[in-house]
């Protein structure tokens, strides 16, 4: 007999209670793990989409709407801005990089984004197959788009007008798929990327059809239709994603833009902070409720295990009468308590990750949040340590109490 074999006997003898304690432990751990994983990843996904974009310039309107539409691709744009103005701003000395974004069409609900190659490199996109777009009407697909639609290289796809699925198809101007990106975990995965010129091209054609005999301006367009490189005064994009060349830019550039042009500038970090302050109360309440449940689970684990260990005080008193040292009693209670704690924590880790993975499968269908249960965060070590600490605490207190109790009163009863 030793501490381990004795502990196993005890646990097996009260199998139902032991399993209940393990289950409580597992439920508590799983809850914390799930909360950690989702919180960290949702936060990470948000900041990943924001990374390196210091300022967004677009048409005047709600700054938040502009950020949501052009950075997160969640809302409709505030309108368009003139290409000439955008290009002038791009050449500003305080601007390190300016990436154009032209929205307007979608492919089966996935947004078609007119941009340049910098957009892809900015989000760390790498080609899984094919190549990057070279000229108008070529597209590169985000990993989710390619996977969900099962599209191969060389296939033609047809965009539809608007930002959500519609029947207004641009069948006359199909795109050719030239590349597919690897998953990035950013907004890139859900986009169809094409040169800005494609968006103009598709819409000139559409406009031409709609207003064939009414608009002189568009006939003027037609003359230049095959020469997109030539300067067009009325060509437009939706927004410009700007990174600053110097921190000083933050102080002057947004004001300069808003004052001297028909465009507005907004800081994504600021707008997201504002957004979360709107929803703050709700999110805070939810996460506080989560931690409250976790604390409750921890407490019930402690109470349950503590009581189980405390019920053994007669036996521990007897062991003491038979000559066991405090160290021996502590080792015995510790072994038993840790067997429960360790298996509970291990099971909880497994459940927590599996739970998040299930949640992730469900969320990936809504297409807005990409998380996974298959990563391990460093904070999880803290959860493991915390769980095992509860186990240690539950063992130490009864073992210590056993050395303070009155053996006579306990055993002679």
């Amino acid at each position: 007999m030793n501490a381990l074999s004795l502990s196993l006997r005890y646990l097996r003898h009260k199998l139902a209670a032991s399993l209940l304690h393990v289950a409580m432990f597992a439920a508590g751990t799983a809850m914390v793990i799930a909360l950690l994983l989702t919180h960290a990843q949702v936060h990470n996904e948000f900041t990943k989409n924001l990374s390196g974009i210091d300022m967004v310039v677009g048409a005047k309107g709600s700054p938040l709407q502009m950020i949501l539409s052009s950075v997160f691709h969640l809302d409709v744009p505030t309108g368009n801005i003139a290409l000439s103005e955008a290009e002038k701003l791009s050449r500003h000395p305080l601007v390190k990089q300016a990436i154009p974004v032209a929205l307007g069409d979608n492919y089966s609900g996935f947004r078609i984004v007119g941009t340049d190659k910098n957009y892809i490199t900015h989000y760390g996109g790498e080609l899984a197959q094919g190549e990057l777009f070279g000229k108008a009407m070529q597209v590169v697909l985000g990993s989710d788009v390619a996977q969900q639609k099962g599209i191969k290289l060389g296939e033609k796809i047809v965009g539809a007008h608007g930002l959500v699925g519609s029947d207004d198809l641009h069948t006359e101007r199909p795109y050719t798929v030239v590349g597919v990106l690897k998953p990035t975990g950013s907004v890139l995965d859900r986009l169809v990327l094409t040169p800005v010129e494609s968006v103009w091209h598709v819409h000139e054609y559409a406009d031409e059809e709609e207003h064939e005999h009414h608009h002189d301006e568009h006939e003027h367009h037609d003359e230049h239709e095959h020469d997109d490189k030539k300067e067009h005064d009325d060509r437009e994009i939706t927004a410009l994603l700007i990174s600053y060349a110097s921190p000083f830019a933050a102080a002057t550039l947004p004001r300069e833009v808003s004052k001297s042009s028909s465009m507005q500038a907004a800081s994504p970090a600021f707008e997201v902070a504002r957004l979360s302050s709107f929803m703050g109360t709700g999110v805070d309440t939810l996460s506080q409720l989560g931690w409250f449940i976790v604390a409750l689970a921890g407490l019930s684990v402690f109470a349950g295990l503590y009581q189980a260990m405390d019920e053994r005080r007669y036996e521990m008193a007897m062991l003491r009468a038979f000559g066991a040292s405090p160290a021996k009693l502590l080792l015995l209670t510790l072994t038993e308590s840790m067997l429960i704690a360790a298996s509970g924590v291990a099971l909880g880790l497994l459940l927590g990750h599996a739970g998040v993975e299930v949640l992730a499968a469900w969320l990936s269908q809504t297409r807005h949040v990409h998380i996974t249960g298959l990563i391990f965060l460093s904070q999880e070590w803290e959860v493991i340590a915390g769980g095992l600490c509860v186990g240690v605490l539950c063992a130490i207190v009864p073992a210590m109490r056993c050395y303070r109790i009155d053996l006579f009163k306990t055993l002679a009863k």
Partner: protein, 212 residues
């Protein structure tokens, strides 16, 4: 040898037992007699070092156990004494054999399973060795408790009412077993009881509660 001097024992500061002087020579047996509530159990626990006396001394051999720190006293008791509690305190999670071996585990002495089986055989319990105590009758459990008290080959066996729950026949056989075991290891047997049936087996006795 057990020597009690100026011993006052009790609890909550209230002395129940007051013995000015008593000596039991080594290897001899003694009966602690008295009605219930007279302090038999109190004295037995004081002799075992499970209850710290209010004053006075308990000397066993050359050792004054009242002067020992609790932890050292526990270790000493584990090696020198076998105890049969009135409430048997069998560990229900363990088999009969493991229950017998428990004091050896607790005191860190050799867990001699062969000796435990021999004891169980002697007590007529060998076929129950791998059963749980709950499957045994009260009399059988009493005998397991005797084997458990003897496993570490103690020099003193202390028993609290070991026969009071048994019928005449069982009482006689339990007494015989206790005396045999004590004789084998040359141990002193100290029995606290109000059971008049076993008086005949003892030369020494200490009557309690007469003065109160």
């Amino acid at each position: 040898m057990i020597q009690l001097s100026q011993l006052k024992a009790g609890y909550d500061g209230h002395a129940i037992v007051d013995i000015s002087n008593f000596t039991l020579p080594a290897g001899e047996h003694c009966l602690l007699l008295g009605k219930s509530g007279s302090g038999k159990t109190t004295l037995l626990y004081a002799m075992a070092g499970l209850l710290t006396p209010l004053s006075g001394h308990v000397q066993i051999g050359a050792v004054d156990i009242t002067a020992m720190p609790a932890q050292k006293r526990d270790a000493w008791r584990g090696r020198q004494m076998g105890i049969i509690f009135q409430t048997l305190h069998m560990v229900s999670a363990l088999s009969v054999l493991e229950n017998v071996l428990l004091p050896a585990y607790a005191s860190g002495m050799k867990q001699d399973a062969a000796y435990a089986m021999e004891l169980l055989f002697q007590l007529g319990l060998e076929e129950y060795a791998h059963r749980k105590p709950a499957a045994l009758s009260q009399g059988q459990q009493q005998r397991v408790a005797i084997a458990r008290a003897a496993i570490c080959r103690p020099s003193i066996i202390l028993a609290d009412e070991p026969t009071s729950a048994l019928d005449d026949e069982a009482c006689e056989s339990v007494m015989q077993l206790l005396l045999d075991l004590a004789a084998r290891s040359g141990a002193s047997l100290v029995v606290a009881t109000h059971d008049a049936r076993i008086k005949a087996h003892f030369h020494h006795s200490l009557s309690l509660g007469a003065s109160q």
